[in-house]
């Protein structure tokens, strides 16, 4: 059962990648619907029946609305692909930093066996992972302040 749930979540994640990266919006919508079906199956396998039923009700609303939107507008995504200019690279770097920070913060909460020594014992002093976590927090805070200051400066100009 556990393997089945993990496989379904993995398939939903793959469908999510297609949904975000496809140029044709109908393909993208079909992939999103597949990801939603994967989520529903995983929720039912886990025994979260009410959440599964809510997702069953939510998915057709999103798919129907997007179909309506595509019928009234356009089917192609001209903006697909990753921009590799300064802002695009900065965004990707910020996202990767957030992902690393997020994993470092969440992993210790899931169990003591994932990363030994996290969280550190009081008498041992901070571990190397804890130091990396603190540095990442400071870097993320600095990047956020810099981004806000930059936006305000541009707006004033």
């Amino acid at each position: 059962m556990q393997i089945a749930v993990e496989m379904v979540i993995g398939a939903a994640a793959l469908a999510g990648i297609v949904a975000l990266e496809a140029r044709d919006l109908r393909t993208s919508l079909a992939a999103l619907a597949l990801a939603g079906i994967g989520l529903i199956v995983a929720l039912f396998l886990l025994g979260a029946i009410e959440v599964g039923i809510a997702t069953i009700m939510a998915l057709p609303v999103v798919v129907g609305l997007v179909t309506w939107a595509l019928r009234r507008t356009e089917n192609k995504d001209a903006t697909a692909g990753i921009r590799l200019d300064g802002n695009g690279l900065l965004m990707l770097a910020a996202l990767l930093a957030f992902a690393a920070l997020f994993l470092l913060v969440v992993i210790p909460l899931l169990g003591p066996d994932w990363l030994p020594g996290v969280p550190p014992q009081l008498d041992e002093g901070p571990s190397s992972v804890a130091i990396v976590r603190e540095v990442l927090v400071l870097l993320a805070a600095g990047a956020a302040v810099w981004a806000m200051a930059r936006t305000v400066g541009r707006r004033n100009r």
Binding site: Q2, A19, L25, A35, G36, V51, T55, L65
Partner: protein
Amino acid sequence: MTAGYALCMALFLLGLYGVVTKRHLLKIAFGVFLIAGAAALFIALLGVSEGHVGSLWQALGLMVILGGLAIATVMIVTSVRLHQRCGSFDLDRIWKLRG
């Protein structure tokens, strides 16, 4: 179930990637929906770790899914209105047309 947690986090980060890096308004709404789905799944997994998904976890999951649905719905309808006004779903183009 630790791989399940990791896959949930991957799905969440994928949705976040869509929200942060995409310029197409509908793709951003897709990202929001993926984030909500991943969060609901994560809550269900936390419930399973206690033995079964109790009513508290179910209520939390319901709230997350319906919140994500509400945000995605408003985003899609607003995107269509913006497209009718500006002729594009591209955030950069809409931003340049402002004023």
